[in-house]
């Protein structure tokens, strides 16, 4: 499947990772527009599989999380938990026939930490050829606007 439309990425990132402040966030928003939805979180350990699933369900072609290097989590094990939760989410989407590459994580380097902007570029490059998500129909694609839009729950 091919498409000219750029994939939409829901990017969750730990606010304690190197150079991930407001300036970097705004620069990324300007560069990628609606193709990148940023979700700063106080620690990657705050991430739940439900966050990634909801993003895929509602607006995103892919969902990623950026974590601090192993051994460098401010809360000791948040990044380790995030890794396991990402793996769990990958298993879940795989079980319904969705490509597991749509969910992933990137660990910042301990020796040469990169700014959020570089890490986001890496992920966007990685996803450049990702086909549109079969979950999102044409009417759904591109409906999310704004970097902090939350997915809507379907609770009764």
């Amino acid at each position: 499947m091919t498409s000219d439309k750029k994939p939409v990425l829901a990017l969750f990132y730990c606010q304690n990772t190197h150079a991930s402040g407001e300036d970097e966030r705004q620069a990324l928003e300007q560069k990628y527009g609606d193709s990148l939805k940023l979700f700063p979180i106080p620690c990657s350990g705050r991430l739940e599989p439900l966050h990634l699933l909801k993003a895929l369900e509602d607006f995103a072609d892919a969902g990623y999380v950026i974590t601090c290097p192993e051994g460098a989590c401010r809360y000791f094990e948040g990044n380790l938990r995030a890794k396991k939760r990402v793996e769990r989410t990958r298993e879940m989407i795989k079980s319904i026939g969705l490509e597991e590459e749509r969910i992933g994580f990137l660990i910042n380097s301990k020796e040469g930490p990169k700014p959020l902007t570089d890490l986001a570029d890496e992920i966007m490059d990685r996803l450049a050829n990702l086909p549109p998500s079969p979950v999102l129909g044409p009417s759904v694609q591109g409906r999310a606007t704004g970097s902090r839009q939350r997915s809507k729950g379907d609770k009764v």
């Binding site: 599989p49 439900l50 699933l53 369900e57 879940m92 079980s95 026939g97 079969p134 379907d154 009764v156």
Partner: protein, 222 residues
Amino acid sequence: MITAEQKPIEEIREMIAPYKRILVAGCGSCVAECAAGGEKETGMLASTLRMAAKMDGKDVVIQEKTLDRQCVNEFVIQLDESIDQYDAVLSLGCGAGVQAVAEMYPEIPIIPALDTEFLGETMSQGLWIENCLGCGDCMLHYFGGVCPLARCSKQLLNGPCGGSMDGICEVNPEVPCAWQTIIERLENFKALERLEEVYPPKDWSKKQGRGPRKIIREDQQR
């Protein structure tokens, strides 16, 4: 608490396939503690099923709600206000919860999303072990607080089999020998002489063989 695990997604999808409007119902008690059927897991399952339906081009409504307890009618009745909107309920309760909802709403199919497993203890985060069979005739005081029926692979009541090595069960190397633990505990209490008593075969009639067990407490009834 009662432990459970989610069924494979393929099995769940097969069970709900005939229905168009489905309520995914979680339970906030035991199955939430063992991360199988609480609010988070209910949301995850509902979201996954909605995505699967979209990928298949199916026009179905899948919504979610988590009750505090599915096995208590006073909580189940909270479904009254919305149950008419659905033609099936996918329950993430234990077997007792599924049946309580089915009893309350006999006209709607209640489908189990979990396999109920055992009475378990949370050993550590993400690890639950079975240590009670619910036999109806607790003997833990004889055995230093260790149940040989639940924790000995051979369910021996009168001492170790002699097959364990270094405190590990010969049947399952992942299991500590229950009898080694019992003897160590009783030594701590200086009560090893309890093991001189011969315990007769377990009377299983208190657990099974006469239909569903029942507890009646008149002082708790209206």
